[in-house]
Symmetry: C2
Subunit: 589 residues, 2 copies
Amino acid sequence: MPTLRIALAQVNPTVGDLAGNADLIRGHSRTAADRGAQLVAFPEMMLTGYPVEDLVFRESFVTASRTALDRLAADLAGDGLADTAVLVGYLDADGPPMTSADAVPGRGPRNALAVLHGGRVAARYFKHHLPNYGVFDEDRYFVSGDTLTVVRIGGVDVALTICEDLWQAGGPFAAARQAGVGLVVNVNGSPYERNKDDIRLPLVRRRAAEAGATVAYVNMYGGQDELVFDGDSMIVEADGTLLTRAPQFTEHLLLHDVALPAAAPGQPAEETGLGRDGMRVARVHVSDELPAPAGEPAVGGHAERLSDEAEVWQALVLGLRDYVNKNGFPSVVLGLSGGIDSALAAAIAVDALGPDRVTGVSMPSQYSSEHSREDAAELAKRTGLDFRVEPIQPMVDSFLANLSLSGTAVENLQARVRGVLLMALSNQEGHLVLTTGNKSELAVGYSTLYGDSVGGFNPLKDVWKTLVWKLARWRVSPAATGGGEGPIPDNSIGKPPSAELSPGQLDTDTLPDYSVLDAILIGYVDGDLGREGLIQAGHDPEVVDRVLRMVDLAEYKRRQSAPGTKISIKAFGRDRRLPITNRWRERGI
Amino acid sequence: MPTLRIALAQVNPTVGDLAGNADLIRGHSRTAADRGAQLVAFPEMMLTGYPVEDLVFRESFVTASRTALDRLAADLAGDGLADTAVLVGYLDADGPPMTSADAVPGRGPRNALAVLHGGRVAARYFKHHLPNYGVFDEDRYFVSGDTLTVVRIGGVDVALTICEDLWQAGGPFAAARQAGVGLVVNVNGSPYERNKDDIRLPLVRRRAAEAGATVAYVNMYGGQDELVFDGDSMIVEADGTLLTRAPQFTEHLLLHDVALPAAAPGQPAEETGLGRDGMRVARVHVSDELPAPAGEPAVGGHAERLSDEAEVWQALVLGLRDYVNKNGFPSVVLGLSGGIDSALAAAIAVDALGPDRVTGVSMPSQYSSEHSREDAAELAKRTGLDFRVEPIQPMVDSFLANLSLSGTAVENLQARVRGVLLMALSNQEGHLVLTTGNKSELAVGYSTLYGDSVGGFNPLKDVWKTLVWKLARWRVSPAATGGGEGPIPDNSIGKPPSAELSPGQLDTDTLPDYSVLDAILIGYVDGDLGREGLIQAGHDPEVVDRVLRMVDLAEYKRRQSAPGTKISIKAFGRDRRLPITNRWRERGI
């Protein structure tokens, strides 16, 4: 059996940065080839970044992607890599780009994968299964490909597939079996979700069995708005053997020698009708034989798996870091109340950017307790972030002197004065403002619109309050600190949560205990359970009704909320699309 | 030829209000039957409201829709309407409801239309063509139907179709021709877009010719979040003759006698394979003969067409009115600067809600000109809205005394103090805050986040600045006022636009003239033109580059903007989905 030295390039592209992404590809292809790789695979839509959303409707962008691909093929050859097969995801179109209202089946934009070889685009494949659920709208953007591309590389028949092709039975993997390929490459822009890595390996195994071939799975890493990609690239044999697996949340070139069955020589190079799921097969010839890889055998190894907390933490850190850096912000600023949410967000920010790029502002009011101020200061001391104190009472009083306000209006006023303060610092000094409302608060609307919700990014947007505490405890544990002092004071973790907007106020004045609340919310939001389903799950009907009503009525606040890293199966935002005007109440008709 | 008395019920359902929508159906069915109607057709998903978005994933909601439909069928019979065929759109599922991640072709939610007759659901049809562009995500929500339902009513074969079925060639209308039907009913939730009514009639004519049958088109009216439905129901014969057409933006029961070819008696009642687009035909028998409609012939007439300005105005008024009323707000509040945007928004609000439900607040700063204050007061006098003056300088000064701010930070501070003021009034008094940034400002980010952008709804969100002026001039013209005094002072219309956040500031300090700006924006935003396309259209390259850069960089502000009525082919929001993190610049790679 021929042996291919495969390099899976788990790298971090940026949406729209065609030149920068092409440079990344050239650099990693160079490194891989220097280490003897004969096939280098990059992630889904590597050249354009992913997802590009409505940029697919911009003819100029489609043209730029195609032009950049041709140039890249030539540049790789110029770099001395003409003999290396480089697989690059990009945006293509096989007709005039369709506009959003002009969908014509059979033409329009394609989620495409090219094999670059010999200075040219030797083969291309168009994604067959298009995800149109959750955060994905690919039926909006792409025309489905109906042809499986099989490329002979070093005498091995290699089938090309893209992301969702792996998640559905039938289609390309079934066609690959009938085409008798030795290897299926699957390139991904597969966003992180908690526990998804536990699903991924069995899934790759299932498809490897379906194709009767080894599967090489490569995923990007990095943040793109609300999505974070975790990498987790791997190679799995037809019998389910995991040959090698990359670490999550980091750049990695996974290099591994894989023995693969040689294709029968002289197979037809033209297209063959196969009929399964209507997919045809197009065969492309690149090379019959390659010299055996030089030097020591390449062994990719098995990266250690992360604990649940470590995995979520790295997702949150990477999501924030990439949002800040890819958008060119020098620094971030956030309010520090002494409470757990802002403390956790500050710790994430410091891990993501370093203390020099993080400013924390304590903004005490007359209702802020002494321990709150101390806890904020202690956090600042432990993390080394830039710390300031800006009392809000003079500004609050100036509003109260001119308006006749009471109750909630006064509570919200304090939060909004803090919002104005943070935005003023942002405008004056160039920081990105972080907002730190957790998913539980967002769900029930326990926040002040244009107050504590002010900010360009929210690292905790998809983190339930109970998970906030869990992450905080983990971050100060020896597992995360190596035995040193953690960034978050015990007081911030241990005290009862309070918005401190009125005397002696506690979250539990308004909300159920968070352990009860989160269990209901997870069922309702993540699980689409209705009232009956929640009661059957053992929840108190009165509490269920109260919580569901709060969630339904807070939709308008969520619609104006800042983006934040998705870590769950269903994040607020594009993952969950509900009308604001909505009289449906689970209590029934 | 038999004559059917058809009633098209152009009514206003509310999303999620199954009981209220069922009452609407019963009331209008009663009225229609009293006037002799034999077939009454209601809009798409009438029973649930439209669009219900991710509510389709809630099993409890799907079940409630089906239960409400059965109950409605029984109630109609109980109302003495057992012999009337009542066509009602609703949400169905022909298998366990799918979740967003569990799309299985052939089962899951259906965008459905039922024929209620004789106290039961006599027939049902599942929408075939699912729109998945613009604001529509129906591939996310529904499984496509593959069977055309043909119902014999009064000896006429009537084919059932839903909305998008009309917008694409082939499919149900082609199958209807082969099935030899006499009438195609097309029920709609078709959102208003400027000039769409000019497209609608030719489209209905095209499909009537394709089906070789009369087409009865019924559309809902009313607002649902960012969408407004304009009605415009009509009946068109196979040769293109427009028999009758309803007015836009109002409730209307369009009643018309239509002579239709009798079906050949004894046609097969079972399903027939037809092969065209893979659609089968299911035939259902309801009635062979009906008594001739009693009394005078019913003639629906032809509603007068609206001018472009009147049409947009009614859309904006209805969109705002329904957002406010369906969400249960008693009143609205908005800032009145004396400028044209807030003046126009106030005029829309007064037309939508009456002056007693509108509060306008003048919030002058040291940079506000005397004429601005006078123009705001004059608008209040003309419209009769509740008018208040709240100077912002004391609050602005309290921030400036405690923070060291300059330049843009000071400008934005003023806008944000105004935002806090309006939100305080909202919290204290229960008003919905209206924000009034026009589409041109939203496009280039000429606004202060959490400042003038504060609000729960924006009536001008999809109105270009040049259209703002056009609408204002129209609203004060004799055509709109009937010769009386218009609501908007001439000064507000005529003066050069200024944010008045620094001395002598004018919009043109920062932006091109709006006539130039809007032409570029319309090409870039609505038309997806790139840099080259805009330059070919005659625009100055330097201005194009500057404008495009502003649009690209303002994406983060738009992501947190208030909802507002869509009137254009591409509104900001769900219609145009772009990444925030995006290094693509039209200047090229």
